[in-house]
Amino acid sequence: MIHPTPPGTRDILPEEMRELRALEASLRAAFEAHGYGEVATPTIEYADVLRRGDERYANAAYRFFDERGDLLAMRSDMTIPIARLVSTRMQDEEPPFRLSYIARAYRAVNPQRGQMREFTQAGVELIGAPAPDGTAEVISVLSAALDAAGLTRAVVGLGDADLYGQLLVELGVQGEGRDRILDRLATHDLVGLELAVDEVQDLDSASRATLLALPGMRGGPEVLDHATELGGEAVERATGRLRATYRSLVGRGVADRVRLDLGLLRDLGYYTGAILEVYDPALGHILGGGGRYDSLLGRFGRDLPAAGFALYLERLHVAQTEEERQNGGTS
């Protein structure tokens, strides 16, 4: 008889589990080697706690009432639970805090396209260390984790979450026009972006050119010079932040792994400043992401700068398999 599991969930059998555990062990060792102690938090949280971190938690995949009538939700990442943990359980301790996790999370995704509703994230949070050095430390741990997973060709995209918000303020674009432009950027719709920009009244041609050119600017540090040439205070500030982070990355010897990307925009609400995405040439999907969230801890009553990343464990495993296949070897 066939007894199904809910959509987007699955069983794992020993052969796969052995490989996943080996991958977890190498990631855990990399986190520990950088001084990031592992924590665990409950899979379920009060929905109010999650919503305090990100309004969009209203869309959590699984929500339900407990026997007292309290609304609970399955966590959709570990960043918000760890923000809660740091501001409650560690309130007497002195920052910075270096924490890591390998944990399951839950999202309401369409399970037909390789994305699961239940999945495992492996990542770190560095709390109490500001940009640029805190960001660079997180990226160097990320780089070590990718190496530990055998993904030596994987690349980290580094962008700035505040760039477009600040730029649109500077250009005086507000209301629907602003929302439309940010939506087109977040959905990678560059054709729609051009239409949205053209709909804005009284935009001079230099500003129009800046808004259309920035999303395509990605590559080495020369990208920052090209962007600065476009002019404007918002671009100047964002490239300044990125330049400082990049300099710190050079000092740590991990800059060659990083591609600067002014088109990057992540869809979570809590990011401020640097944002990250992880790519591997063997896989068409992103392996993970992260960035700075300097205002998140403040929402839980402990105002500390913070940054982190999360890798999707199952996708890392797929990328490992693909890399082995493309290298013509089976290890």
């Binding site: 060709r153 690349v155 995209g157 896989l283 999907h285």
Partner: protein, 224 residues
């Protein structure tokens, strides 16, 4: 033997892979490729093969509605398909990089000419009965205009639905309007204008940026 890691860490695997739509956009797509120096003689003469190599690009051919699937998964780096296909698959995570501007069509709501069944449905029954190959486009259109519709998905000739009484109207893509007229249908509302679009895989767009941008610039329609 371990392969030498190349310095750019570019996405591996030789030439860029471009997914091409067989069907209505096929002819114009081949003409555009010829114009930018990607020869298509082989594609024109061989209708059986699915994969072709031409001037440094791998061309893979498929149904237009499959193009976003291949590009999202990274099985193709780039693809050409209609905006109608993208509108129907809004949750695909791909870069829409270029409006190629050929293959222009209108997505419309059409009803039987000289017949007010659509309006009557809405007035008396609270919902229109609409047949379409684009259920998500149709549902979104009625939602955005504050109306309700009973959307019936069909796979074949959608014009048959109002003729046989399955539905009172259709949401469909119209190029010249001749098929509508021949079946006694007329356009009631225009929903969107659809042209051919170039889309890119999210990872290829980052890891093969120079090659992708180069192809985008070559494909960019003139006059803008």
């Amino acid at each position: 033997m371990p392969r030498v890691v190349d310095l750019t860490r570019a996405r591996s695997g030789g030439p860029l892979k471009l997914a091409l739509p067989r069907g209505a956009l096929w002819g114009d797509t081949l003409d555009v490729l010829d114009r930018i120096g990607v020869g298509t003689a082989e594609l024109r003469s061989d209708s059986r093969s699915l994969v072709f190599e031409s001037n440094g690009v791998t061309l893979v051919t498929m149904r237009p509605s499959d193009v976003p699937t291949y590009v999202e998964a990274g099985a193709a780096d780039l693809g050409i398909t209609g905006k109608d296909v993208l509108l129907e698959q809004p949750d695909r995570i791909v870069y829409e990089v270029l409006d190629l501007r050929y293959g222009a069509c209108r997505m419309v709501l059409a009803g039987r000419a000289g017949d007010n069944a659509l309006d009557e449905d809405e007035r008396r029954l609270g919902a229109m009965r609409i047949a379409t190959k684009y259920p998500r486009v149709a549902e979104r259109h009625f939602e955005e205009t504050g109306r309700r519709a009973e959307v019936i998905e069909v796979k074949g000739s959608v014009e048959l639905a109002p003729l046989s009484g399955l539905a009172d109207g259709i949401v469909d893509l119209v190029a010249t309007g001749r098929t509508l007229a021949e079946n006694g249908l007329e356009v009631r509302e225009e929903i969107a204008t659809c042209t051919a679009r170039l889309i890119a895989n999210r990872v290829s767009h980052k890891l093969r940026a120079e090659e992708v941008d180069d192809l985008v610039e070559r494909l960019r329609p003139e006059g803008r």
